[in-house]
């Protein structure tokens, strides 16, 4: 919590004091009027209807082709949270499912237990879940015989090797598929847009990863990653809702049921925010707004910004956002403060209902509520609130078990939360957690100089989190913003990458990290940008927004399907090879005879699961001469890791 607060406040200061980036100064200012609201219904069906006249001859050939055959492979895109599966040669996955149910945890995370016994248990649970998922893929979703189907696994480049081994083991031994091939998800995403060169960003659930690919060769050493992705977004959303959301408990029969909504509103109890609710809010209500600095910069140019801000923000407040008048946050409402006894709560609500200038951090209610961190968080919230025109939403949620009322409670999601939760993905400055724009630039810094222009102009965004409306345009503007020269040192605070040092150290010349990339600005283009800015160069014009309209989340799967249909993609590992490489096939029985005291299940994990090097992986590609082969390093490491556990078992 504290970390989140700090970071957000840091960003707050920076964005406030940032001078206008030159090319952005012309953007339209505040009154984003609501009259532009143009409800566009999704025309999916109408499009389908209109194009339904003739079916493509190619499809019929595909169909005849695969009538009896089983040459269509099964393409599986196993995510830690969502799996996409289907047959190759089809344009969309047959099934998309949560790996562990809607409320379930992701299958794997970014860390493993350090204790050997715990880790073994973790692995066993993981294997059980993965096995369940894989079996359901064949038996429940695709209704096909696994023994007759070759499988393409869409493999994330940073998928841990032990999980990869596990997937292969289950496929070969439990399901007995004839062959498995692993294909890099980033490369497959590029295939899906008809290219073999590009800089691919995959923003998934656990992490965002950029990987440059040239001529279908992933440049793995230049891979860059950050944990700012879907799960971070979810946890941030949850925190924001707990702090700033409002909850109306279900009406209970009796006198209290007739209370107006305003007096029933309470703080959001954390237990109603189940993963499913968060997921619902995230996917149905959230979007990514324009960069805040853009708005602020534009505003700073208008005189009298501070005085008029309130008027400018909500000119038609009463009619355009009726939701605000339906219920008041009512910080000074006495009934409500009796409901919530805590000072903190009431101060929070009063802050919300009386937004003040964001640069006044020591304000808010009784002041005794939270520390300065909380106040700063509130300052940030009020600033976001003032600059957001998104409507507040009500959502029906299941009340906690202890509540007395009937029916469902109501969760009120402030509009600014819907719009600004995604800010967490674009806040850079942390060494370990670069912003998404920064990892793209970092990758570009690392690639060979003569590839930079090519890659900068073919940026491809894939992954589920990037499906947030507005994500891609915002990311583009963040890239451009990050690459701008840092402000002259006369401006007090730093750009984000030096902001951690605070105010006092301002004298040394600033580290201009991306100076060498600045000449690339006209070339930057996101090829699946749905609403690109006016291109600055021919190359950008030729590329940006020219990708086919596959949804970013599906791209890797579609690429896998394409690779399967073209009979390419990935080195196949056949079952024979797997069986041959089984290191324990012969001495399994002997082992069991020799050590009868071995506890159940454990011998399995420690012995049988030693990695076999039969699976191709980029970490096992020998490096050019001079450096020791990675495979040796990993082996020696694994030996080092293995030996203490072995002794522990013996002891």
């Amino acid at each position: 919590m504290v970390v989140v607060k700090k970071r957000r406040v840091r960003n707050n200061r920076v964005t406030l004091s940032r001078p206008p980036p030159p090319q952005m100064s012309g953007t339209p200012t505040t009154p984003r009027s609501k009259t532009t609201f143009n409800p566009t219904t999704p025309p999916a069906t109408s499009r389908v209807q209109s194009s339904a006249i003739h079916s493509s001859p190619h499809y019929t050939t595909t169909r005849r082709h695969s009538l009896y055959g089983v040459e269509d492979r099964v393409v599986i895109d196993p995510g830690s949270r969502i799996w996409k599966i289907g047959f190759s040669g089809e344009g969309k996955p047959r099934d998309v499912f949560y790996s562990d149910g809607r409320n379930g945890q992701p299958l794997w995370g970014l860390s493993r237990a350090s204790d050997a016994a715990e880790r073994a248990e973790e692995d066993r649970l993981l294997e059980i879940k993965v096995e369940r998922c894989l079996r359901s893929v064949f038996h429940d979703s695709l209704l096909t015989d696994p023994k007759a189907r070759k499988v393409i696994i869409v493999e994330h480049p940073l998928l841990p090797l032990h999980i990869k081994e596990m997937i292969a083991r289950i496929l070969f031994e439990n399901l007995q598929v004839p062959s498995v091939s692993f294909a890099s998800s980033h490369l497959l995403s590029l295939f899906a847009v008809g290219r073999i060169t590009g800089l691919v960003l995959d923003c998934g659930h656990l992490e965002s990863v950029t990987l440059p690919i040239f001529a279908a060769r992933p440049l793995f050493p230049q891979i860059r990653t950050t944990p700012l992705a879907g799960s971070r977004f979810s946890s941030h959303l949850r925190n924001l809702l707990i702090f700033f959301g409002t909850y109306l408990p279900p009406t209970s029969p009796g006198p209290s049921g007739s209370l107006p909504a305003a007096s029933r509103s309470v703080r959001v109890p954390p237990e109603i925010l189940t993963d499913a609710v968060i997921e619902e809010v995230k996917t149905r209500c959230c979007f990514v707004g324009e960069a805040l600095s853009t708005i602020l910069d534009a505003r700073e140019n208008t005189p009298g910004f501070d005085d008029q801000s309130t008027d400018m923000d909500f000119p038609p407040s009463s009619d355009a956002t009726p939701s605000e008048s339906d219920y008041s946050y009512a910080g000074h409402d006495s009934v409500m403060s009796s409901v919530q006894s805590s000072v903190q709560d009431s101060s929070e609500f009063s802050v919300i209902s009386h937004p003040r200038a964001p640069d006044d951090p020591r304000r808010g209610g009784g002041g005794g509520g939270g520390g300065s961190g909380e106040n700063q968080l509130q300052a940030l919230a009020s600033m976001y609130k003032r600059h957001s025109t998104a409507t507040d939403l009500k959502m029906s949620v299941t009340p906690p078990a202890s509540s007395a009322g009937l029916g469902n409670g109501t969760l009120i999601i402030p509009g600014w939360i819907r719009e600004r939760t995604a800010e967490v993905l674009f806040e850079g400055g942390d060494v370990d957690e670069s912003s998404i724009a920064e990892i793209i630039l970092d990758t570009l810094l690392k690639v060979p100089v003569d590839l930079r222009k090519t890659l900068a102009s073919t940026i491809l965004i894939s992954g589920g989190t990037s499906m947030l409306p507005g994500f891609i345009p915002r990311l583009y503007s963040e890239i451009i913003r990050a690459i701008q020269p840092p402000p002259p040192p006369t401006r007090p605070p730093k750009p984000y990458n030096t902001v951690q040092h605070g105010h006092e150290k301002s004298s040394p010349p600033q580290y201009d990290r991306y100076a060498t990339l600045r000449q690339l600005i006209p070339y930057f283009a996101v090829i699946n940008n749905p609403s690109p800015e006016p291109p600055l160069s021919d190359r950008a014009k030729a590329n940006s927004g020219k990708a086919p309209a596959f949804s970013p989340a599906c791209m890797a799967w579609v690429g896998g399907s394409l690779a399967g249909a073209l009979k390419t993609g990935g080195v196949e590992v056949s079952r024979e090879k797997w069986d041959e490489a089984d290191p324990h096939r012969d001495d399994d029985d002997m082992d069991m005879d020799l050590s009868p005291s071995k506890p159940g299940g454990h011998g399995h994990d420690l012995q049988q699961h030693t990695p076999r090097n039969i699976l191709p992986d980029w970490t096992r590609i020998p490096l050019p001469s001079g450096a020791p082969p990675v495979i040796m390093i990993t082996q020696s490491q694994s030996q080092q890791v293995a030996s203490p556990t072995a002794t522990a078992v013996g002891a």
């Binding site: 566009t40 389908v48 998309v96 899906a192 060769r217 499906m467 990708a547 599906c554 159940g600 050019p624």
Partner: protein, 561 residues
């Protein structure tokens, strides 16, 4: 609270000994008896996690039409006849005709019995109808075929075909070049020379790509070095999208400006797009307002993973619910059920008890009290009853033994082993280990009629007897009762004062049976089978769960009173 007996299937680990029951992963190794199979060849229990599954037939759950497997793939595993689901509520849709033309003169106008031509699909549950989304049909039959046309020409499949065309020449070129040259990387090197060098190189790259190739081709790096020189050339013809993302976003589906506008002004209660759920988003345009064809079901036969003998095989016909082959474990292993007498008293016969009891406690206990009384309070000792039912036609000798869980606990690092020691077994189970017999199963009719009544009487008698037993300290451990093919044995669990968590222990059940006739058990190759085929022993593990321990502090003293 729930007490249960689950059976172990050793498929998840290599050793036949089950994992200690306190591990969360152990619950996946144990299954209810009715879900298990028994392979006669291997003489082993098989579960649904390890059997290999084959599809023996597809059928539509709605019209029960058996779909030939050849057309299943093309029809995308969905019914190709007239079965549809409502896109809103997943109810089955029905085909309804339009209103007959309102001709005042006569009712003869709708000549056909099927109704008037513009047909549409109607949901009787939520009243959705397909006319809402502009889908109507001329004929009431073959609707799926009419709809599938639009599915086939969905934008994504057209785009996909185009992509395939785009890549196909490259692939072909690459296969040619790689066939002409033995070393795959030679294409990459020779691409300066060839006239079609660019496409050849690109396609070769495409064919070879993917991590791991480098393992076989150490020259990859140098190949890349060559490539760098041609960096600014487009090594591949540009792909021209059928519908690019800009165009798509103008229709409001690509996450562009229109989408943001739409999202930011979502009304409070607006039914925003159906597709905006995580899964819907990922599926793209699958989730639309179209009627959904009903997914097919499959009939599956299952085989033993080790010997590939069929364990279960359904009859082919979709209407039939019978099996041709059915080797379920319930026919081989004794069924074990567990009862906690103090719970039976408190729950099953709560009212009767309340009426019968002479002393106090006439009032029916509240839910809370029941909870407390039925639960296992730390520091107490509870009897439990295991009733074993023999499914075999021969009598069996059963031996029960409780696995000492904490001795068999995982030999982890010393640190956690010490922890294990610290929280030493929270309970002690005492169970007689002397073998006892369970009579053979006879056809049910032999003792069906009078046994039912007798059973109840017996139960009552036993229960009332049990009521006094704790005071008199009569036998609670050992064989309590034998009747028909059921034997009830008693055990006792003593909870320690500081006990927490669940009372759950592994129990090894080994039973010896005599098979004098060679069918059907005659061909069982039992591991412990001696040369004389007279008696055979089979052993399996179960996990017995008695319930959750109620911590001492909250325990109620009034249980004894």
């Amino acid at each position: 609270m729930a007490s249960s007996v689950l059976y172990h299937c050793p498929c998840l680990s290599t050793s036949p000994i089950p994992p200690p029951p306190h591990l969360p992963s152990s619950s996946h190794s144990f299954h209810p008896l009715h879900t298990l199979f028994f392979c006669e060849e291997c003489d082993a229990v098989r579960c649904n996690r390890c059997v290999s599954v084959e599809v023996s037939g597809y059928y539509c759950p709605n019209c029960l039409f058996e779909v030939p497997s050849a057309s299943v793939r093309a029809e995308k595993n969905r019914c190709a006849r007239n079965c549809f689901m409502c896109p809103n509520c997943r109810n089955t849709l029905s085909v309804v005709p339009s209103d007959p033309p309102d001709a005042g003169d006569g009712r003869i106008v709708p000549i056909s019995t099927v109704g008037e031509p513009p047909f549409f699909l109607y949901c009787s549950h939520c009243r959705w109808d397909s006319a809402e989304v502009g889908i109507t049909f001329e004929k009431p039959t073959g609707l799926a075929a009419q709809l599938q046309k639009s599915e086939d020409s969905a934008p994504d499949s057209l785009e996909f075909e185009r992509l395939k065309e785009h890549f196909e020449p490259l692939i072909r070129a690459s296969s040619l070049s790689s066939s002409s040259s033995a070393v795959p990387s030679s294409a990459a090197h020779s691409h300066h020379l060839h006239s079609t060098s660019i496409t050849a190189a690109a396609s070769a790259a495409l064919a070879r790509d993917i991590p791991g190739v480098g393992k076989y081709n150490p020259l990859t790096r140098s190949g890349r070095g060559n490539k760098d020189r041609s960096a600014n050339k487009d090594e591949m013809p540009d792909y021209k999208s059928r519908m690019d993302i800009i165009t798509a976003s103008k229709h409001g589906s690509g996450g562009g400006v229109t989408d943001i506008e739409f999202m930011s002004h979502l009304e409070k209660r607006s039914r925003c797009r159906y597709s905006r759920t995580a899964v819907g988003l990922q599926l793209g345009s699958i989730i639309t307002e179209q009627p959904l064809r009903i997914p097919l079901h499959s009939k599956r036969s299952k085989r033993c993973p080790a010997c590939t003998h069929i364990l279960i095989k359904p009859e082919q016909k979709a209407q039939s619910v019978r099996y041709k082959i059915k080797l379920v474990a319930a026919n081989y292993l004794p069924a074990i059920t567990i009862a906690l007498p103090h719970q039976v008293e408190k729950f099953g016969h709560a009212s009767a008890e309340a009426a019968k009891r002479p002393y106090g406690k006439a009032a029916a206990p509240t839910e809370e009290e029941k909870e407390a009384m039925g639960g296992l309070v730390a520091g107490e000792t509870y009897p439990f009853h295991l009733s074993l039912t023999n499914p075999l036609y021969d009598p069996i000798q059963v031996k029960l033994s409780v696995q000492r869980m904490h001795v068999a606990a995982p030999s982890s690092s010393d640190h956690s082993a010490a922890q294990e020691k610290a929280r030493r077994p929270p309970f002690v189970v005492s169970l007689s280990t002397t073998p006892f017999s369970v009579a053979a199963f006879a056809e049910a009719w032999e003792y069906d009629d009078d046994d039912d009544i007798l059973d109840d009487d017996e139960l009552e008698a036993r229960l009332s007897g049990r009521e006094k037993e704790p005071k008199t300290k009569t036998k609670t451990v050992g064989v309590l009762e034998k009747r028909a093919n059921v034997t009830i044995v008693g055990g006792e669990v003593m909870l320690r004062k500081e006990a927490r968590g669940n009372v759950k222990f592994n129990m090894l059940v080994s039973y010896t049976y005599r098979s004098d006739d060679p069918s059907p058990e005659g061909n069982i190759g039992s591991p412990s089978k001696s040369k004389v085929p007279e008696t055979k022993t089979f052993a399996f593990y179960t996990v017995v769960e008695l319930g959750t321990i109620i911590p001492r502090e909250e325990s109620r003293i009034d249980i004894e009173s």
